[in-house]
Amino acid sequence: MRAKTLFTIVLLAVAGWLGGSQAAHAQPLTLDAILIHANNDGATQDSRLEHIEFKLRRIFNFEYYQYFGGSSSGVTVPAATTLNLGHGYNLEVNLSRAGDGRVRAQVRWLKDGESLLATSVKMKRGVPTILGGPPYDRGTLIVVLELK
């Protein structure tokens, strides 16, 4: 009887562990995207970029970072969503479980329906991913994508 009880406990523990890891992925998240116009011509400081501007300045040579648009979406993985960034820019995002507490984001960055960049990224909650490069008005466009 004792062995049977131990066996049952081990089975329940394994089931709970597997179920818990699945449930961890099922919690609701917010997918946040900010479109930034990086340039050297000048821009006023924007509080919406306070958390990221100093980091971008360390990586890129641009002097100014202007908030250009953005959008957020509440998601429960797996999910598919489109974020409208403004000025004709959109992000199509497919989210799926990636294991190890991360989420796979398959992202397509579009301008008026034309694809600029597509990527697949395994993201961790709270760690931004930077997309960028398309030139715009003597500067460059940057997207800060983050799961919160």
């Binding site: 066996f7 890891s21 360390r58 990586i59 600029l116 960049l117 395994k122 961790k124 760690v127 490069g133």
Partner: protein
């Protein structure tokens, strides 16, 4: 029939004096009963003198009993092996091994051939439809940011700084 039973009990020394007197009276009146009593007495003597196999050695008999008990226990093992303590632990260990293997395989499939790994971010692939564009990935240790950049060949300001 009653007299037969009296004879049998008499030979076993189990009858009372009253019954013994009754039996004696009947045997005097019926010589066939005397003959029957003698015959049964002889059978009893033959049985006691004969060598009954397996029963003349108590130690050997006890060993046989223990051997039979062990045999029954082994058959019980075959019937319900899952809940014997050692096998239960072996089963639990096998379950854990399977669970870990499944998770490891899922993780291995997920982690296949990453382009770049930053702090918590892993870029699996990048492509661009812009003409002449080249994509690059950069993981910055200082800021913890992972940058996916498209370099557009316009000879102008499309650069990563």
């Amino acid at each position: 029939m009653k007299t037969d039973r009296l004879i049998s009990r008499h030979l076993d020394g189990e009858i009372s004096e009253k019954e013994s007197a009754l039996l004696e009276r009947e045997m005097k009146n019926d010589p066939a009963l005397v003959q029957q009593a003698r015959q049964w007495q002889r059978y009893g003597e033959l049985l006691r003198e004969s060598d009954v196999p397996g029963m003349n050695d108590p130690d050997r008999a006890w060993m046989d009993v223990r051997r039979k008990i062990r045999g029954l226990e082994q058959r019980d093992d075959v019937k319900i092996p899952l809940f014997r303590p050692r096998l239960a632990w072996a089963g639990a260990a096998a379950m854990l091994l399977i669970a870990v293997s499944v998770l490891f395989m899922r993780r291995s499939a997920d982690d296949a051939l990453p382009v770049a790994v930053g702090a918590g971010t892993e870029v699996e692939w990048v492509e661009s439809d812009l003409p002449g564009a080249v994509s690059m990935v950069y993981a910055d240790d200082e800021t913890g940011l992972t940058v996916i950049w498209v370099v557009v060949d316009e000879g102008d300001d499309g650069h990563a700084g």
